[in-house]
Structure formats: structure tokens, C-alpha cells
């Protein structure tokens, strides 16, 4: 398949891996920011190809994982109202709230539907005039423009039975939170390519300067990731700290201006709580005042008691790259995709789910049962 197979070719991948082997003389720890990248790494067995000096830690870029507990509870409370059709991307449905997931709510009779685009939810609102259609607007800068566009259209058409439950988050503030933590061990970032297709990479330049950390905008295929790693390791070995763009086939420095304009027209920056990490200032989006009539939180006025998250699961540490999933005592034992303790075990972009699904489990002897392909020098 064009634009995919070229980036999965075995010979090219191994050639790039050999280049990294030649380059790395010291131990380096890199974080891939996006959960989609984590999944490629684990799914294609990329870690097996890297020299032992290069450690990859997995970042917070899993929208499902960082959506706070009380927001999931709020979604469930709204979905449970008899007049509501609650629409969400499929990923969110399995995520545990404080006592239920949206799937559980559906089993109890809530009208919860999976949509592929927020515009599908708006269409449901147009055709179900007697219902209140609510869309769960989650995700990073990647999903925000389409969600903004949907609200803008709803406003233009004056669709009154449509609203959005907004829990958008932004990537650069999360990277800064990780960098500024005293326990940070990340020496370089593979920035999330899809986020950068929208936002460009100008906003990473201050971060790069302030923390002297290489940031390489990186794609999602095996060869993309290896090239991103190669570029980051080269910077570290040479003592450079720059923003570089590996994903040039999709990302421009300024990003997609019209998507950004649409986002800014509808949303404004606000503080957000990140599940497992805590509150980060200026790290999320909410509806602007002129669109607040589409705010599901206001429309349904759900008042829920504050919920405490347990300290038992280490998702917060995993999302900051301080631990790998298999270092958690509960991993694969008390915490599995069937009975998850934390959101990263649920989402298709969560690091714990990737480790579980693709077999990085201690009970399997992890790497030892799997033959490791030789990477020659």
C-alpha cells in the first residue's frame, strides 16, 4: 500500500537500526510522546532492533488514558439521561470511570453510540429532533479541529439539540510538565507527528531551548520511528538540542493554519486535569463564551461528588515515562484489558494495553521466549 509499505520494508528498517547501533556510544533515554507510536514500537517489535544504549519510554499521548475520572463519570451521568443519545469515539467506551464505563452504562440501557466523526453525531442530532445528542469531545490537537468544525456548523445551522462534552488536552504543556519534574529521565523527545500536522512545530522551540532537549517530530511507521530515534541520538551524541522534523511528508513548520484558526475560533485554552498526572495549567481547551450554549456540562448541569483516584495503579508514572508497564506489580495479573485498573490498559493507544496485547509480559518470559533477530553492524 502506497505511503505505508515503503516505511515498513525490512531491509530499510534494518539499515536504519544499524545506523543507530553505530551512532550510540552512551546510554540515552528517549520518550515517544504519542500512544500510536508506542503501539507501532511494541507491535512491530522495534525495541528488539535497538542497541541496548537506547531506552524508549512511553509518553502521555493517549487521549483515552489522560481523560480524567470525573469527566468519564460526567459522561456516564449524561448518557444515562433518557432523552440523550451519547456519541463517542469507540476507544472511550471501555475506559473505567469511578464505578462504571460507558459500555457498562450502555448495558444498563443508556443510548451510547460509537461514531467515526463528530459530524456523524451532528447528523444524528439533525435527524433525531426529539433527542439530545451529546458528543464526547476528547483528544489532543489532532481531534480538536474537527470537533471545533462540528460546533461551528451546529452554531451556523442553529442545531439546538446538539452539545459537546469537552475534555481536550494539549501536548506541549504535558511535555513541559514531564521535563520540569525533578524525577524526569527523558533526554530527548519523539514529538507526535499527527499533532504537528495540525500545530506545526514552532511551539516546541521554546521548550527545546529552555530544557536543552532535542525534539524530533516523528511519524508512526517503523521506519519513521527509527529515523526519529536516529536523529535524536545524533543530536544527543553531538551535544545539540534542536527541533527537527522527521515527518516532513506530513508536517510543515507552521502546521495547518486553517485547522488552527477553526480551533481557536471555537475553543480557548484552559487548565485541565490529566488522569494519572494531575492538573497542568493552560493544558486544555474549552468552548469559548459565544459557543457555550453547546456545552453539555452546562446544558445538563451534572453535579457529581468529587472522586478520589486510587494510588494503587502506576498509570501516572507510566504516562510520564518513569516506569514501563511491566514494572507494575499488578500488570497482567490483577490488571488486564478485561478488568483494567487504569486507563492505559484499556485504550488501543495505551502503553499497558500495548505491552499486554503484544506479549511483553513477565509471565511469558518477555523477550526470552521470542527469538530476537540479529542486527549486524
Amino acid at each position: 500500500m502506497k505511503f505505508l509499505d515503503e516505511y515498513r520494508r525490512r531491509e530499510e528498517v534494518h539499515r536504519m537500526a544499524r545506523a543507530i547501533h553505530r551512532l550510540a556510544t552512551r546510554p540515552w533515554t528517549l520518550m515517544e510522546v504519542c500512544g500510536g507510536q508506542t503501539h507501532t514500537i511494541v507491535k512491530s517489535g522495534l525495541q528488539d532492533l535497538l542497541p541496548k544504549q537506547v531506552t524508549l519510554v512511553h509518553g502521555p499521548g493517549c487521549p483515552v488514558c489522560v481523560t480524567p475520572l470525573d469527566m468519564i463519570d460526567r459522561a456516564i451521568a449524561i448518557a444515562a439521561q433518557p432523552e440523550v443519545i451519547f456519541c463517542s469515539f469507540g476507544d472511550m467506551l471501555r475506559v473505567p470511570g469511578s464505578s462504571q464505563s460507558l459500555f457498562d452504562a450502555k448495558a444498563l440501557g443508556a443510548d451510547v453510540r460509537i461514531v467515526y466523526s463528530p459530524l456523524d453525531a451532528l447528523q444524528l442530532a439533525r435527524t433525531n429532533g426529539d433527542k439530545e445528542v451529546v458528543f464526547f469531545a476528547v483528544g489532543f490537537e489532532t481531534t480538536a479541529p474537527a470537533n471545533a468544525m462540528t460546533v461551528w456548523q451546529a452554531a451556523r445551522e442553529d442545531v439546538r439539540n446538539f452539545s459537546v462534552l469537552v475534555s481536550h488536552v494539549l501536548v506541549p504543556p504535558a511535555m513541559e510538565a514531564i521535563l520540569s519534574s525533578p524525577s524526569c529521565r527523558v533526554q530527548g523527545f519523539l514529538a507526535a507527528g499527527h499533532v504537528c500536522t495540525v500545530m506545526g512545530f514552532e511551539e516546541y522551540e521554546p521548550l527545546c531551548r529552555r530544557y536543552r532537549v532535542p525534539i524530533v517530530v516523528t511519524g508512526f511507521e517503523p521506519l519513521d520511528l527509527l529515523e526519529g530515534i536516529q536523529m535524536a541520538v545524533a543530536q544527543l551524541e553531538q551535544g545539540r538540542a534542536e527541533v527537527e522534523n522527521q515527518y516532513a511528508r506530513a508536517v510543515r513548520r507552521a502546521g495547518n493554519r486553517s485547522a488552527q484558526d477553526c480551533m481557536r475560533a471555537v475553543f480557548e485554552v484552559t487548565r485541565r486535569t490529566w488522569r494519572g498526572i494531575g492538573e497542568i495549567p493552560s493544558s486544555g481547551l474549552r468552548l469559548r463564551e459565544e459557543y457555550s450554549r453547546f456545552d453539555a456540562e452546562k446544558r445538563f448541569g451534572v453535579n457529581l461528588p468529587a472522586v478520589e483516584e486510587s494510588k494503587e495503579c502506576i498509570a501516572g508514572l507510566v504516562l510520564q515515562g518513569l516506569r514501563t508497564p511491566d514494572e507494575c506489580p499488578a500488570f497482567g495479573k490483577r490488571c488486564t484489558p478485561d478488568s483494567p485498573l487504569g486507563a492505559p490498559m484499556v485504550s488501543s493507544e495505551g502503553a499497558c494495553a500495548a505491552y499486554f496485547q503484544y506479549g511483553k509480559r513477565k509471565d511469558y518470559g518477555s523477550h526470552s521466549v521470542l527469538p530476537t533477530p540479529a542486527v549486524g553492524h
Partner: protein, 347 residues
């Protein structure tokens, strides 16, 4: 800034049936193990094959049943009626049995237009004729509007076991070649493409078909078939995991050898689905001795339903009962059973 840590510890309402209990993955297995198997336990059921083989007066009879609840009722390449006939015919075929007769039970929803029911019944008639079986008895019930989903169909079937040796996971041996009968994922993607307003440029049609001609070709050709499994819900990955667990063997599959069409691959990439977990309704996997593999492939190629057959891996001598996948780029990973339904990802 100091980052404070906290994390969720939810209690899921697992005492209820969730959709994932019907997904064919781990939750389905848990349901079987927790509720059905303890209640009905007997050696035939406990072997957990697609059907059971009974010996009556020296005659080996295969028996199986399946229910069909697909939406929409009519989709590219088939209807719920095709599925209901072929699904049960295929379960019999997977026992090495020539399908003989089917039953059909309909649960209809009040208000269903006859014009929706007619094409379903007609496609059942055609599928039964193509598979060489008759629908010999049946039942009809109507439920209140809103209590059904148009049409639910249950079929049961009996067949005459033709295979001389037992065809089941216990017969699988290290070194066996693993053959799939054609490209994977078309049925699941065909259903998705007409559900929820997705539109693809290329029309992807369901692969629903009777697999008996392919199985018959193998058996008539004298292939020592060790195990057969049709790749319905949960796809190839779930079937291989079930066989690895039940047969106590390890399975190794080469990702680049697994046949998936460009159109299905593209749809899966777009939606964040893995074709190895997507449902098929006219595909199966066959475990045969390595020495028979090439001849088995030639026999499969002689039948239209398995013209795209290919060898994707081998059975390993390992204590771990794992399915491992050699990725395209040469890494390796475990190909696990799916937890519930595959869900399209956010971005």
C-alpha cells in the same frame, strides 16, 4: 512544577452481560468457563470444538448450532440468511462432516416489512442449494416492536463425518503447516462499511460462502487433516489462540504471509483495526502435516472458495502455548486473543 500522581481503581460492573461477552475473545471464553461449561459439562462440550461428533449405531454424526444477529440485514456480498446457512454448514465442515440437513428458527420483530424478510429467505434458499443441504424443519416467533432487531436467525445442522481421523486441536502436532483458505477480513469490513455511515471508494464484499467444497477436496485428496477452524468473529488471531490453548502447542505465524487485500488493509489502517482480528464468514485455517502442505494447497486452489489459500506458519514444539507473529520488519511479538470488540481508535 511538581507532578502529583494519582490513578484510577475502578470497580467494573462485570456482573452484567456486556457486548464484549459476545465478541469471541477473552470475555466470551470467561463467560463459557464461568457459566455454561460448568452447567452442561460433558466430554463433547468440554472439547470446545465448533460442533460435536456423536457416534450413533456406528455412524458418526456431527451436530452444531449458531445464531445470527447481524445489522444491517442485507450488506455487500450477502444477507443474514446467507450467513445463517453458511455459518452452520461451515461449522459442520470444520468437523470434517458433509452437511446433510439444517433447521432454521426465526425471531421476527413486530412491524418488520415483508420486503425485508423476503430477500433474507431467498438468500437462505440459494445458499442452502449451493451448499447441498436442505432446511428440513424450523420455527417462527414474533416479538414486540423494539424487543428484537428486525430478524434474528438460528440454524442448527447435522452432517455425516467423512474424515477418518479426529479433526480437532488435540490432533495438532509440532511441525504441522498452517494454511489459510484465502484473504482475510472482507466480511467484517463489508459490514462496517455499511454501518455507521462509513463510505469507502472500493466496495468490499463479504466472503460468506460454504467451505465444504474446500474441506471435501482435502479429505478426498487423502490429506491427513489435523485440525480445521473457520475464522469467524475474533478472526484468525482468536482461532489460532483457541487451537494453541486447546492443543497445547505453540504457533508461529509470518505476518507478511497472511493474505489481506489492499482494500481491506486500507480500511483497517484507516479505522485502527487489525485485520487478524476481523471476522470472516468464508475462510478457514487448516493444520496439516508439513509433508502434505504443498499437495493440500494445490487441492485448495482447485476450489473457487479457497483459490487464494496459502501457508502462513507452522506449529512449534514449545511449552508456552503462545501464538507468536514474526512482524514484517523482522521483530516478533505475541498475537494475543482479543479482549472484547475491536474498537476504532480516536486518532
Amino acid at each position: 512544577m511538581e507532578v502529583t500522581l494519582s490513578c484510577p481503581l475502578p470497580q467494573l460492573a462485570t456482573e452484567r452481560i456486556l457486548l464484549a461477552h459476545g465478541g469471541g475473545g477473552r470475555l466470551t471464553n470467561q463467560l463459557l468457563e464461568a457459566v455454561f461449561l460448568p452447567a452442561f459439562s460433558n466430554p463433547l462440550l468440554d472439547s470446545r470444538h465448533d460442533g460435536a461428533v456423536l457416534t450413533l449405531d456406528g455412524l458418526r454424526i456431527a451436530i452444531t448450532t449458531d445464531s445470527f444477529v447481524v445489522q444491517p440485514l442485507i450488506f455487500p456480498g450477502g444477507t443474514i440468511g446467507d450467513l445463517a446457512v453458511n455459518g452452520t454448514v461451515n461449522d459442520l465442515a470444520m468437523c470434517g462432516a458433509r452437511p446433510v440437513a439444517l433447521t432454521a428458527a426465526f425471531i421476527l420483530e413486530e412491524g418488520l416489512p415483508f420486503e425485508m424478510l423476503q430477500p433474507v429467505v431467498q438468500s437462505m434458499q440459494e445458499a442452502a442449494r449451493a451448499a447441498g443441504v436442505q432446511i428440513v424443519t424450523g420455527d417462527t416467533k414474533v416479538v414486540d416492536k423494539g424487543k428484537g432487531d428486525g430478524v434474528f436467525v438460528n440454524t442448527a445442522g447435522i452432517g455425516l463425518v467423512v474424515a477418518e481421523d479426529p479433526i480437532n486441536p488435540a490432533s495438532v502436532r509440532p511441525g504441522d503447516a498452517i494454511l489459510v483458505s484465502g484473504d482475510l477480513g472482507a466480511h467484517g469490513i463489508a459490514i462496517l462499511s455499511v454501518r455507521g455511515g462509513l463510505e469507502f471508494e472500493a466496495e468490499i464484499k463479504s466472503d460468506t460462502a460454504s467451505l465444504w467444497p474446500a474441506v471435501e477436496a482435502l479429505l478426498n485428496g487423502g490429506i491427513a487433516v489435523h485440525c480445521l477452524r473457520d475464522l469467524t468473529r475474533g478472526g484468525l488471531a482468536s482461532a489460532l489462540n483457541e487451537i494453541a490453548t486447546a492443543g497445547g502447542v505453540g504457533i508461529s505465524v509470518e505476518e507478511s504471509l497472511v493474505p489481506v487485500t489492499e482494500a481491506v488493509r486500507a480500511a483497517c489502517e484507516l479505522l485502527g483495526l487489525d485485520p487478524l482480528y476481523v471476522a470472516n464468514e468464508g475462510r478457514f485455517v487448516a493444520f496439516v502435516p508439513q509433508g502434505d502442505a504443498e499437495r493440500a494447497l494445490e487441492l485448495l486452489w482447485s476450489q473457487p472458495v479457497s483459490a487464494g489459500a496459502t501457508c502462513i506458519g507452522t506449529v512449534q514444539e514449545t511449552p508456552t502455548k503462545l501464538v507468536t507473529l514474526q512482524s514484517r520488519i523482522g521483530g516478533s511479538r505475541v498475537l494475543d486473543m482479543i479482549s472484547g470488540e475491536q474498537l476504532p481508535r480516536i486518532c
